[in-house]
Amino acid sequence: MRPIHRWAVVAGVFVLLALAPMAGRAIPAHDRSLSAGQLLSLVRDGYTAPYSGTVEASGRLGLPFNDRFTDLADLLGGQTRLRVWWRGPDDWRVDRLLDTGEVDLFHHQDVTTQWDYERDEASVGPDPEIRLPRDSDLLPPRLAALLLAGADGSDGSSGSQDESQVSRLGARRIAGRDGLGLRLRVDDPRSSIDHVDLWADASTGTVLAIDVYGAGSVPVLTSAFTSFDSARPTFDVTRFRAPAGVRQHFEPLLDFADAANQYAPLTPPETLAGLARSNRKGRGVGAYGTGPTRLVAIPLQQRDAAVLTDQLYNSGATMRHGQSLLRAGPLGIMLTAIHSPFEFQWLLTGTVTDDTLRRAAAGLARGSSYR
Amino acid sequence: MIRTQGLTKYFGRIRAVDDVALEVAEGEIYGFLGPNGSGKTTTVRMLLGLVLATSGSIEMMGHPMPRRAREVLPEVGSLVEGPAAYPGLSGRANLSLVDAMGPGGSRATRSRRIEEALEEVGLAGVDRRPVRAYSLGMRQRLGLAATLMRRPRLLVLDEPTNGLDPQGIHEVRELLLRLNREGTTIFLSSHLLAEVEQLCHRVGVLDRGRLVLQESLAEIRRPTGRWYVETQDVARARALLDGQVDRIEGDRLVVRHDDSAALNRLLVEGGVRVTALTPERRTLEEVVLKATTDSPDKVVRP
């Protein structure tokens, strides 16, 4: 063999190897002739379908928080690898995969156990009514359920102007499955989310991948399965058995939102900026809106708020009339002025415009009451 | 034993070896001469398959090279541009490793062959110290020992006496002559004329990549037909041999004549006291110098 032939062999090997990872994607995705409304129904029917697999999520929301918000900042502003076994809404397990261990959520009925390998600790707590986002919320099916709530599947002529409209996108191969594309265009002028693209499994309706877009052309949050299985996971795998010697401690309060919801002496009004309250009335925290237009109002004690004010200020928040306002992509974060006499401040955050946040702040100043 | 035709090698645009046709017969000691940089080493490397010829063919022991290297090379012992060994290992360990690498080295006889080879090159008493601590001469001897391990039919040696003292050179010369008597063909590349002159049957001379001479030593040193006449009676001799004297060097005349006996009688009868009458022979040095141009490592002002 002459040298030129040998190098030709090497070049052939190179091309083959370089193409190998693309081979799986090269299989054309098989589309189904479903209208947007039919696909939306399929997706909604798939909310209870079991599945398992691995997920890669990537957020571009640079949250200014550290210390007790670290998890949240990582969740929305970085890469997250998840592994999930979903037997149903009441029985699932989600692992956050780390290079040095993992943090696992085991969910049964109303109780969630968090196991942290590196801290060697397990904490058990009831599922609160209000909480900050956690790992399981990044799963494409969970994220989709959150954003599709209230979406209208009809042809668009009948729906009211504020409702979001769905349309079809082409099919895509995701984790070896055919993903049928659906676009949710957000028409509500209060929302800071422009549109949401998602791809649902053609047979089960489980959402395989989801991209959330703010103002720009790059998604601010993406989440997609890297491997997917629609078989029901075994009973065994979602069950947490505490290792010998590890005490499972009970955590009645999951996070500061949960704490504020249960114990803050304030309660926000029933509507804010025209958005209806979606959680129980009379509680400390108010959650408003639905689908891609959501807003939450959390009362903070002044010493907690002061720490947050510093962080917001250091991240370049605009300060006006005692209000701090920061925008991280479509996520707006506002800390309102101090309310006497309890010296509480409201943390307002959500996927809404600055204007909506200011209207909400005004609404809080007028409408919040003591309980 | 070795036959090349039109052997040519380019390194980039430089022609290192140009159309070389070597002929080495079985059983002979062939001296491969040439100044440094004349392409000797490249030719040797081509014979052994280390450097691949740009064009031309090589045949060794009747097989084409380098295509049939697996059959040919086990019967060849070679020393290319100085010896080399794994510095951290002892001489014996080196011989053992190299023997185990390729075909033709039986494991059962290995240690016996190592001892024999070391004995032959005068390293029989060497201890376990690593080659790193060897002198240049010892390394050269070890390299020679490596070539002898498998009783090769052909030895290709590049400057085998390099780094040896006069005693060592003598020993190596005796060793090579003995091996040759026992039937080993030897291809000896050297720039030392004296070494070649003392050992070789035939010589090839390489100059700037071209084989400018390939002849038997006997042929080269054949009498030239001229005679050296030494006498105290220079003037008388010259008068007697008018027209036949080419040159006078002190009390020695260089004379053209067909028959030494007739020349002697002529001189003696003419009353010239001849102290010596010897035939003129060309030396290898003269032939080589005549055949080659300037040394290539000499740089002349243009």
Binding site: P3, R6, W7, V9, V10, V13, F14, L17, A20, P21, T54, R83, D95, L97, L98, D99, T100, G101, E102, D104, W115, Y117, E118, D120, S227, V237, F240, A242, P243, A244, G245, V246 | T42, R45, L48, G49, L50, V51, L52, A69, R70, L73, P74, S78, V80, E81, G82, P83, A84, A85, Y86, P87, G88, L89, A93, L97, V98, A100, M101, G102
Partner: protein, 271 residues
């Protein structure tokens, strides 16, 4: 030829000095941990290191995680980079080839020898890790069994099996580096240049992994799946990246061994 290369590697003092240097780091870390009793904060430092203070038998894995990102690949780059260029520089290459040893056989034997070197290194690191872990680290008072990342108990046998798998994976992870260094070793004249070239590739790969803009290149980066051996300690074992890692390394070996072969087969040996 393979046997000869193995003998050379095992008898070379340099191999053992290199192994000792690599082993020194986990030894130092173990001693520091034992003396200070300060583990790394969760999420920082190499895998398993935060757990070894209570579970000493995990230290072989922590030791492997310590040497895997830099020390081991650097040693592989140097060893494999020396394979052909070093012999050429030393002058022994020509005597090996005229012995004769087939050029392809020589390349394969060199790769096998480097693999054996990595294996010996990993075994030394693991065994010293185990000895140190049991003697210096661990909390003998707590009867806590070793667990997977997911919190399920591991029996000693299971732990030994998974540690063995992790060592095998670490060994395979080094093959890509070895093949690249071997290829460069047939190209450049000095072993140092081959080692430097390989290290440049490693550093480049590590850097590109952190760069979002290089996302399309990630599946091809040689260091991409190196740390995936930790996936063997999840329950159930997460094979996805481990399998991809093995395939990636196999791809590197095939490509660069082929390139080394293409280059070396007709290379003029003029050293």
């Amino acid at each position: 030829m393979i046997a000869v290369e193995l003998t050379k590697m095992l008898r070379s003092r340099r191999s053992w000095v290199t192994i000792a240097v690599i082993d020194a780091l986990p030894i130092l870390v173990a001693v520091l941990l034992a003396v200070t009793d300060i583990g790394p904060r969760p999420g920082t430092g190499p895998a398993f290191l935060s757990a070894v203070l209570t579970k000493g038998e995990l230290y072989p894995l922590a030791a492997v995680a310590i040497v895997l990102p830099l020390f081991l690949p650097a040693a592989v780059a140097i060893t494999a980079g020396d394979a052909v260029a070093g012999e050429a520089q030393q002058g022994t290459l020509r005597y090996v080839l005229v012995r004769p040893v087939g050029r392809t056989r020589l390349l394969v034997a060199k790769l096998v020898s480097v693999t054996a070197f990595v294996l010996v290194t990993l075994l030394v690191v693991a065994v010293t890790g185990l000895v140190l872990g049991v003697l210096l680290l661990g909390d003998s008072n707590s009867a806590t069994p070793t667990t997977t990342f997911s919190g399920t108990d591991l029996t000693t046998t299971q732990l030994a099996q998974r540690t063995g798998l992790a060592l095998a994976y670490a060994l395979l992870s080094m093959l890509g580096v070895a093949a690249v260094a071997l290829f460069l070793s047939t190209v450049v004249r000095t072993p140092l240049a081959a080692a430097m070239g390989t290290l440049a590739l490693l550093i480049g790969s590590t850097l590109l992994l952190t760069l979002d803009a290089a996302h399309a290149l990630r599946p091809y980066l040689v260091t991409r799946y190196w740390l995936s051996f930790v996936d063997l300690f999840r329950d159930p074992i997460l094979w996805h990246d481990v399998v991809l890692g093995v395939l990636l390394q196999a791809g590197y070996v095939v490509l660069f061994l082929a390139a080394a072969w293409a280059n070396f087969m007709t290379k003029d040996i003029t050293d």
